[in-house]
Symmetry: C2
Subunit: 540 residues, 2 copies
Amino acid sequence: MKVMCSVNPGHCTLIKYIFLLLIIIHLGLNTAESVWPLPQIVIPSPERYQLKPQSFSFGYRRNLDTKHSCSVLDAAFKRYFSILFPGYTYGNDTLQLSENEVFTLTISLDHHDCQGYPNQDSSERYKLSVFAGQASLNAETVWGSLRASTGLETFSQLVYQDDFGSYYVNKTEIEDYPQFNYRGILLDTSRHYLPVQAILKTLDAMAYSKFNVFHWHLVDDPSFPYQSQKFPDLSNKGAFHPVTHIYTQSDVRRVISYARMRGIRVLPEFDSPGHTKSWGKGQSELLTSCYRGGTPSGTFGPVNPTLPSTYQFMASLLKEVASVFPDPYIHLGGDEVDFSCWRSNPYIRAFMRKMGFGLDFSKLEAFYIEKIVNITSVLRKTSIVWQDVFDYHERRKFLSVVEVWKQGCYLCEVRRVVKAGLRVILASPWYLDQPGPTHNWARYYNVWPLAFKGTEKQKSLVIGGEVCLWGEYVDATNLSPRLWPRASAAAERLWSNERQTSCVERAFPRLQEFRCKLLRRGIQAEPLYVGHCKHEYQSG
Amino acid sequence: MKVMCSVNPGHCTLIKYIFLLLIIIHLGLNTAESVWPLPQIVIPSPERYQLKPQSFSFGYRRNLDTKHSCSVLDAAFKRYFSILFPGYTYGNDTLQLSENEVFTLTISLDHHDCQGYPNQDSSERYKLSVFAGQASLNAETVWGSLRASTGLETFSQLVYQDDFGSYYVNKTEIEDYPQFNYRGILLDTSRHYLPVQAILKTLDAMAYSKFNVFHWHLVDDPSFPYQSQKFPDLSNKGAFHPVTHIYTQSDVRRVISYARMRGIRVLPEFDSPGHTKSWGKGQSELLTSCYRGGTPSGTFGPVNPTLPSTYQFMASLLKEVASVFPDPYIHLGGDEVDFSCWRSNPYIRAFMRKMGFGLDFSKLEAFYIEKIVNITSVLRKTSIVWQDVFDYHERRKFLSVVEVWKQGCYLCEVRRVVKAGLRVILASPWYLDQPGPTHNWARYYNVWPLAFKGTEKQKSLVIGGEVCLWGEYVDATNLSPRLWPRASAAAERLWSNERQTSCVERAFPRLQEFRCKLLRRGIQAEPLYVGHCKHEYQSG
């Protein structure tokens, strides 16, 4: 496999590479170097301590009033205990036999916020110190010590087994925080239905790579699997199957709760006015009737933006969505609207004339989206839209966050958006629909979202990035190997210091090691290249 | 998704397509049209019969002396019963409650050959007739009624469930036989180790698509996982791990036996003189020592063809291989030999001079392969080699079967080989390492191995084709979705009548349906495009 040097070759000199190799040879990859994504500041040490499942425990710092009360952390202790010691269960297998063998990981929080949900502003900063007999983990928030990637996850990646099966952790000091606050993965449950179990498994894997947003592209043209309380016909008639291929309210709650426990936000997307064919099956009058030769052709186009009933419906649906999904953001889509159907419809054309839009259908589009964004604002939610909305909209001030997805010079677009004072999420370089090896992990690693000319303030408007796994060719059969470990390459770009992680040659053995960890944790992560893991994936 | 018309557009007219659609609409895809690969002659009928697990049974024709004695068929009855009726077990769930509900599938064989192994000459021809209350399956050999694809498999694909869960089969008459006798899948267990379970699962899926040869590329440069009885150091030192990443003799027997039960041959490959780096670890003096500046550089090249010890070793190893693997064929590799190491070595150069080879290292290569082929002949095995051997070898008469693998005008190469009177297996167009969607199923479907100018006799030398799944980027995590259902596209090309199966538009809904059947049978087959299956794959 030919690995290229990074976009920033200055960081990847031969001398540094040799130096790194020496460290790896000396300490093995079982040190802080193997933590993925790489923490901001690491002080490693060759000094190591043995861990035993029977005498390992988690604890809260004494004065902390979270003691025995933070269910998010209690659940994480159980989960990570089984990750640290596969085959063991926390509580059942901790005996604390002898005083001098005890190892305790103690957590302290600066703020007590156990009850809420992680959000865009939650601090994920943490400090981790591993010493003889103990480790201490300090975080500003409960999400800091947990959120997708943070202290406990890092600690779990520091622990390794020798050839005889004994567990060890090296003395280590880590101070860590993410480069970007928004580190998302988009799954598309419309083009193929993904069983809830496949989504939960993805949330597990996201946490291992420190992703913190699950962008749920719930519905689209092919199917409407979201079972609405107010509009059950949307899934009754618009899902692939009204019973087996839907997400019930209980399913959705389960996904949100599972994500929350892992410090992951769930960002729902209800994309309109395009990409809505499936909506029309259960909601008559919503879509535009297309015309041919002066009469309705029987086919339908985008949402009809001329009818008041459209906005009543959208307000009602979004009100439900706003209450079901606790995240303060909603993704409204707005991409790829085909004008031909609007153009064919005499009523739409009449409306255009009345509004003074002339023949510029992007004005109609803007008219629609602005109304939907306003509905969302009234619901006290911040909207995210695909870049199309920014591109065709002349009045941009009502927009908040723009997601850049188109190929080509995507950084030019990022620059345009931040120049307009709007926040940006970058997705273009991380479309993982295309499988490897030409679209391999290095391609996704060699991306730097801030590589454009701009002020510090402008650059701070780039809030993060997102891996998109669209569903044309993806369902539960190939989701995991197509996502992992390639998405992890993007995860390091979004979490770690770019200067320390700009060279694919350096990253390669680390990512190979991390991929083996994913396998050990039951994630069907595909290989990077020739080689093996101690514990291979066992097919069922 | 844009589906192109086939290489032979005359077969895919609009009228025929509409006619086919009408049949599909009328009968649904639950008829003989949905059998994949398509049988040679099918007489379908809309008349259908209900099947009940409790009153369904398999039987032998009365006079047949195989009654109660053919273990291959008895095992197949059990297997296919659970495929026909998921959740039921043959024997436990057959009660034959009432006479008029009984449905029996009766098998008759023209030859009684239950004990042997399937081979290149085994007939796979069968006739299947489904009537009220019974089906009869006639085959020339036990491999005919079983072999990977044949009668029972076809019958299992004819059975379908209605929306209420009842099972049906339509009245049908089928006469069937394969277009090509050799329909192989290559798995590479050297670049990544594949757990035995992953191989067995692949054999299951192969049987569903009527593949009949498992080409086991056992060893190569990266690792030597085959545990030799005579040379245990080959895997002790050459495997990725001497205990967890090897195939023991018991593993190998299990694979051969599992394959045999499904009518699949196991063709072992021990590729030399190149692709042998891992061999050198456990067998000193075998590989050529490379020189730099007149002294050994410490690295090693291809097998050393100048030493008698090399041939003693190879004879001994191949003798073992010939006894472990019952198939009359052995694949000897012979591809991609790098001459630079041979060239650097003064002893090799001296040998060249002595033999009068000049500077033509392909003569040395030919010298080596000829000796190895002769060793194989003495063991009464027929050798198969990669096309390189044919290309560099001037004296070709000692060759038997050539596998064409290089890209470019592969049919030009096929033509050259058959003109030389040798048999051909075609692999070039079916390298499935590259994943979709650019390398999608249609690409593999649009291949016709006989589309070259040649006599009937020459064309008859094309004995079949092979899907190759090399292991650089493949292990148990992504093997199934990368193989299936794309390999099934090749399977239809190799089994069915090309005239009836030359149009991808026609094949598309059939393959979608077949892919759903694969999911139902637990095979992680990836989607072709947007859509759904009644039973989606449930991740663990």
